[in-house]
Symmetry: C2
Subunit: 183 residues, 2 copies
């Protein structure tokens, strides 16, 4: 859960990142920026700001902001039966993001998991994305990502987004955001 | 068919529009900008510049540029049997675009079809998109669009893109670009 004040502060910070990235949002969009704190009460370290542009049955597009060194925790988008899980392409628009996926561990990775959550970060192949660079994640791929020291703005192009089906490595995590007062 | 010189000129113009929109492309992307002249030999009026970021079986994302008053001609993305046609969301990033779809004709529309092609423009409900504004087109929806006087940059978020299945109102149109010399 985050406070209304924290929501406002982070949403305003996200707007500044969008502006730096040259991304124009409508007034209505600025008022519905989402803050994900993943239920860990430590949004500065484990958290994500985002605006969802469109999310139909077939296509989703969003623009995510991570503050400097902020982390989106490890998770995957599972397939269920014949229904394939979410596929997503991350495209860095501003700053730098380090993306971690399964595979041979990168020696001396740039990032460390948030303090106290180390046990829930298990994939260590590092992919560095600078503006204009992108990476496609297919369903059932464990991944996590962290912004570099300047923060980052990342476009996500994907199939339908259903946050409630995401599988996080950390069992403490709740994806659905809770805000302490109505906003 | 367009000449190599025309390709280079339009690709460079597109790069300038991307820069104005704050969109960063990699060097490799700048070298594979696509110019669609639709086979009408009049690319300044009927044409489109674009870069495809990703096009998997499920998701496609691209960034389109239209020069001032340049038009993407009327077409639709048909469903075939049980397979639904392409769904696409246009999001204006820079300049202004006028999108035309089926529905009640807008009085005094801002655009006119390219000279000599008037017969092949049949839908006249006008949707004006300025930066940050977007519109979603579901399959089988006839549409065309034209840039305003400053040109435009438009992101497209969609299902898999298969240009060869597009149905154009104008039977003279060929979607697959042809360039007179290898590039």
């Amino acid at each position: 859960m985050i406070s209304k004040e924290e929501y406002e502060r982070l949403a305003q910070a996200a707007c500044q990142y969008y502006k730096r990235a040259g991304i124009v949002l409508t007034t209505a969009e600025k008022e519905r920026i989402e803050i994900a704190d993943f239920g860990l009460q430590d949004v500065e370290h484990t958290g994500l700001q985002l605006i969802v542009y469109v999310n139909t049955d077939r296509v989703c597009a969003k623009e995510m902001v991570l503050l400097p060194h902020q982390t989106c925790p490890e998770h995957k988008h599972p397939s269920t039966g014949a229904l394939p899980g979410k596929e997503e392409t991350f495209r860095c628009r501003y700053g730098r993001v380090y993306l971690y996926v399964a595979g041979e561990k990168t020696p001396n990775p740039h990032c460390r998991p948030p303090h106290g959550s180390e046990a829930y970060y298990t994939v260590w192949r590092e992919i560095e994305l600078n503006p204009g660079e992108q990476y496609t994640l297919f369903p059932d791929t464990l991944h996590w990502f962290q912004a570099g020291s300047s923060g980052t703005v990342i476009s996500e192009f994907s199939t339908h987004s259903t946050d409630e089906t995401d599988l996080f490595t950390d069992p403490r995590i709740k994806r659905t955001p809770e805000i302490s007062e109505g906003i």
